[in-house]
């Protein structure tokens, strides 16, 4: 019966590994919550929205206003997604309907290269090229605009790749039927292909949005890192992610708890986005196929 005992052992060891892998996210969230607890308990949440400034290190009069950071995260994310979405979808339409498949395959390779580009390399390039260019227009250069431009470049391949996959999943018979009715290529794209691929394209955009909220390196290198609500796109900002990256090295006590709270907010927002996505995906499959 030795073989059966081995079988039992393998089953339980694999089960243990699976529970560890699946439970890891709970451990992380619980850990963040424990870390953020001092900040949540001591009445600080009121000050998150009440205090006008972010000066958590100040001994005399610490200020815990989170609003500038949340506004920074929101603005840079929305700005970057708004830039990347039309470019990504238009490019996907072009390569799906206007270009032979042989050429289209090379574009796919390039998009994968762009998607695999390390954030730190993009941030470095932005610092060497984009920031000086913007600074010539309007100093200081490190700004909402610089971070959003490079961030858009970073999330563009996500939108382009998912959009093209969604467009190529539109049943050929629908397109042939459109052609049989004498509808031109543009009309077919606008009236048949895009509406049928709407769900897939939408999930791609949401995925890109989630990626942009959590992105750290590009933002920390390019946004200027001043906690304020920007008056124009040329003003520096300081999103939640770069605040964590810059301050977790030295933060102590309630300041540190605040960083955990920031991390918790990020995880919850992105979790909601991605969780909502997986709920959406099911009905979608039924309508397309």
């Amino acid at each position: 019966m030795c073989r059966l005992r081995v079988d039992w052992l393998v089953r339980h060891v694999l089960g243990l590994l699976a529970v560890v892998a699946g439970g890891l996210v709970l451990v992380i969230v619980w850990y963040l919550f424990q870390g953020a607890k001092p900040a949540l308990e001591s009445g600080l949440p009121r000050r998150f929205f009440g205090d006008p400034e972010w000066q958590p290190g100040s001994v005399r009069d610490p200020q815990y206003g989170l609003v500038p950071m949340l506004a920074g995260s929101f603005l840079v994310t929305v700005f970057a997604t708004a830039l990347a979405t039309p470019l990504g979808i238009a490019g996907a339409v072009f390569y799906q309907f206007y270009v032979p498949a042989r050429v289209s395959r090379w574009n796919l390779r390039c998009m994968e290269l762009l998607a695999g580009m390390p954030a730190v390399v993009l941030g470095f390039w932005g610092l060497m090229v984009v920031v000086p260019a913007i600074s010539r227009l309007e100093p200081p250069g490190q700004s909402l605009l610089a971070a959003a431009l490079v961030l858009a470049l970073m999330i563009l391949p996500i939108i382009a790749l998912t959009s093209q996959a969604a467009l190529s999943a539109v049943p050929l018979s629908h397109l042939q039927a459109a052609a049989g009715l004498g509808i031109g290529r543009a009309g077919m794209i606008w009236n048949i292909a895009l509406p049928a691929a709407k769900g897939g394209i939408g999930s791609g955009v949401l995925l890109a949005l989630a990626r942009a909220i959590g992105e750290t390196l590009v933002v920390v290198m390019l946004c200027g890192n001043i906690a304020q609500i920007p008056g124009s796109v040329f003003d520096p900002i300081r999103p939640v992610t770069s605040t964590i990256a810059l301050e977790m090295g030295y933060a102590t006590a309630s300041h540190k708890a605040l960083l955990y709270a920031g991390g918790l907010i990020l995880v919850l927002v992105i979790g909601l986005l991605v969780g909502g996505l997986s709920f959406r995906r099911k009905p979608n499959h039924n309508t397309v196929h």
Binding site: L4, G22, Y31, G116, M128, R185, M221
Partner: protein, 291 residues
């Protein structure tokens, strides 16, 4: 219906629309590919003059403005080893259990896959925050290569689970009853039949995971540390290449040249990894056609 009857492919309006759509698409694609080309050209232009054999082997000098990235390459390699050692059994084991020992739709299977998917959506800086206080402080590993590797394990785990799982589910379904008919136990079937058959797919997952780990900076900033000495063990602090680029770009004036050269090295490593993955994928497809 009248609109359908009146429209013909050759109407002037539909031709103009066709041109318009094509033009917009071409411009969007030019902008995207142009930006990619611009980035690559800049990196090559700034970085290539600094590349030499010594750059790969030499010590860093003058805070990174001179010298090479020898210690960073060794640290990066050690971080990868520390990341793969726990990640492979954890990721592959989890996928094996999900595909072979539980029903796909059961509550526990859905809970585990849901947990893994959520883990995939956690931003890397949060892994850094978690790793710094859990591995470095609570477990007492300090700023070390080991802490960095373990943090990356948490981050890249979902990729491994997902790719292994899809490799397992794409195996021919009659393998399992055939092995059962031969009197093999489930463990033997898994080890002798299914694992070898799914190995190319699993290797794709591992190479993709390595590519992701190489590109990562935020999770390593405060776990594996900034030290630029040659690491003597995995308990030493060591600076990964990505962290080196970040430090040169942000904190060292005139560090741009060496940073571009380091970025070029990192990019080439990632390209090589991706090439391996796509070659594996090709072989995977071929073997599926044959069987």
């Amino acid at each position: 219906m009248t609109s359908l009857i009146s429209s013909r492919f050759t109407t002037r309006r539909s031709r103009v629309q066709d041109w318009l759509f094509g033009g917009i698409g071409a411009i969007a694609s030019l902008v995207t590919l142009g930006a990619l080309g611009w980035i690559l050209a800049d990196l090559v232009k700034m970085g290539l003059p600094h590349l030499s054999v010594e750059f790969f082997t030499a010590d860093m000098k003058s805070a990174g403005r001179e010298g090479g990235i020898g210690p960073m390459i060794v640290s990066t390699f050690l971080i990868l080893v520390c990341f793969l050692f726990p990640a492979i059994p954890l990721g592959v084991g989890c996928a094996f259990w999900l595909s072979e020992y539980v029903q796909g739709g059961s509550r526990i299977a859905r809970a585990v896959t849901g947990g893994v998917d959520l883990l995939a959506s956690v931003p890397s800086i949060v892994f850094g925050l978690f790793g710094m206080s859990f591995f470095c402080q609570v477990l007492g590993l300090g700023f070390s290569i080991l802490s960095g590797g373990l943090t990356l394990t948490c981050m890249v785990l979902p990729i491994l689970v997902r790719t292994t799982l899809s490799a397992m589910t794409s195996l021919p379904p009659d393998l399992r009853p055939a092995a059962g008919a031969l009197g093999l136990t489930r463990a033997t079937t898994l080890w002798q039949i299914l694992l070898p058959a799914a190995l190319p797919g699993i290797m794709i997952g591992i190479t993709l995971g390595v590519g992701r780990a190489l590109a990562e900076t935020a999770a390593l900033l405060f776990t594996s540390g900034y030290s630029t000495r040659w690491p003597e063990s995995i308990h030493d602090s060591g600076r990964a290449i990505s962290v080196h680029i970040y430090d040169l770009a942000m904190n060292i004036p005139n560090g741009g040249g060496k940073a571009s050269a380091s970025a070029l090295v990192l990019l080439l490593m990632i390209l090589a990894i991706n090439l391996v993955a796509s070659l594996l994928a090709d072989r995977c497809l071929k073997s599926q056609y044959i069987s």
